[in-house]
């Protein structure tokens, strides 16, 4: 993976928060994913294939997604389905940006949503995975990028 790829994924995620909530999210220092799981309450996963392979996922807490959904839907009560849709939507937005930037030589899968604390999300063994902590309104989420 190139440095520019990682910058791109970070920017895509930060842009989402800024566009949707008009409030900037903060990036933490990226680090290498070890064997320790990086999974919060909800996770949206996208697969990338074609010229280069890999996968990306964003994982966030229930509280963060609930608050985000309240802002987007402009209602105080949000259902579990709304929250699941939202994490899928975030992953979808990132995937849309990736599709735009990487061109038609790449295949981007539709997002797959995982609810609950999975043991871990397995990434391709052959490539290094990077974890980018993202903080929005004191809520923490993680973007995990693994690309050939």
């Amino acid at each position: 993976m190139r440095e520019s790829d990682l910058h791109f994924f970070i920017d895509s995620t930060l842009n989402y928060f800024e566009e949707v909530t008009r409030e900037k999210a903060q990036t933490g220092i990226p680090y290498l994913k070890s064997v320790d799981p990086v999974v919060l309450d909800y996770t949206g996963i996208i697969g990338i294939s074609g010229k280069r392979k890999g996968s990306i996922y964003i994982t966030a807490s229930h509280k963060m997604l609930e608050y985000l959904a309240q802002i987007i839907l402009k209602q105080s009560y949000v259902s579990n389905t709304d929250i699941k849709d939202l994490i899928g939507e975030i992953a979808n937005t990132i995937s849309g940006n990736v599709r735009q930037a990487y061109g038609s030589d790449f295949m981007i899968s539709v997002p797959v949503v995982v609810e609950g604390h999975a043991k871990d999300i397995t990434m391709p063994d052959d490539f290094q995975a990077f974890v980018i902590p993202i903080t929005w309104k004191s809520y923490q989420s993680f973007l995990v990028v693994c690309l050939e």
Binding site: I45, S49, S104, M107, Q128, P133
Partner: protein, 514 residues
Amino acid sequence: MESVKFKSRNICMDRFAEKLAEYLFTNSDEMKPSTGNLINMLDMLDIGLFFLNPNGIVLEEPSTCFQNFFKENIIHDISFLELLNGRVPEKTIHDTSEYLNLMFDDEHDEKTLNELNPLKEVEVYSKNDHGLWSDPRHLSFTFKRFKNSHGEQSLIGLVRDGSSVVELLKKLEDVEKKNHRQIQWLISLLHIDLPLLNEFVSVIEYELARIDLIIKSTQTGTEFSTIIPKLVRSIYHINSSAVIMNLDFFTKESFRFKDEIEAIKNKPDVNGHDFVPIVMGLGNMHRMLSEIKELMKHIKGLDNSLRTTRRFDGGLIIRLVENLINHLTELSGKKIILKYHNFDYMGIPFKYRQIIKEFIIALTRFVIEFGIESADKRKSLNVNPAATIEIASELNKNVFTLHFRHDGNLIQIERILQQSLDEHQKALYDNNKIENCMHPGSEVMRLFLNPDISMLDNKGTSEGKQIMNDFELVKKKLKMHGGRIKVVFTSESFCEYTVTIPFPAKTKNTISHS
């Protein structure tokens, strides 16, 4: 070489399938009754068969093998491009559409068009029950024109699964690349004694883990610039360990990493983005380290069969110092001759070897950085442009002594010494100031062992600070072993650091008979 063999085997299979397809294509009309048998035969050979009408629709029921490749029960009247959708990149679908349009047009030469076939080798994905891609297949499609019973231009398609061969080829390519790289690295590693290599690996492992921990435990919103000095310290250790081992491939990566940290250091507002090159470099170093560890397993076997001599073992520390001198002089434009005829590494009591090695390395670095002038400066001072560092050791009854002598900065030291003595003399005449005046001995010791008060041109650099910190640390370690350092300055000759470490004499076991 192996990959070439596999490639030619692959080509043989292709030719066989093509021949069979050609037979089917050319005899399609009269073979109609036996087409079913041929399909079965192709199925057995793992070759799928399907027919396309001029609109690109899959006609009749395609072969079982074809359906298996797509992991779907494909019934007829489905668009071929639709079938590819979501399984291959959009660009491939677009190119296939154009290619098929040309194939349906009689005016274009079929053989020439086949050269443009975008599905000649294509990776096709299928989704599992969770909607995730699984088991990508490397399929190879070939198309041939034929006229159907209504005289319309149609296409016969053949598809073969080359996944096993493609995967094997890729593996072979990766292994070939890895082997080539590892052989280069192995050559670099072979000259290093295994215990030293072990020590190098543990230092790098420790420092990389430390960097990982620092980065991971830094919370978003904290001042990122505060962790830079910690990272600088770790990378300084990684870098200097790689330099003294003369491991070019690792040194290059560590230098790149060091430069990235230096770049961040100078930024006014540091954010997470700035750490991207650092974390990428960290990933590279982790990968390199795991490959070095892999290679070490092989070296261990070699090491047992190629046991080195004592003299060779003793020469390793000298080689480390030589590497260090070469590296530092190259960077600083200094010239240094190393003399070590009276140094006997094997004479050092075993328990003190590590600390003595650390001391020599730290002192060499310290002296080159602060104690020796550049070749040009020495020339202008009318002394030999090449300075000399001499290492010697002695083992007496209960004391080990190390002598480290150099002839750098002598004139400057002389001047500072004189200045210090003059100031002391002046203070002696003035009784009021005598209490405020430092004893000349202590000032001179600070000059040799902690030179921030005097002659440093580069005292502000982080490299200089690191070298001083290291030297301080090794001095403390030496003290813990009961070691003492004495500095002797002989006017116009040399400056000598003498380290003495006492060690208890071996006590003889006595058995008393009563």
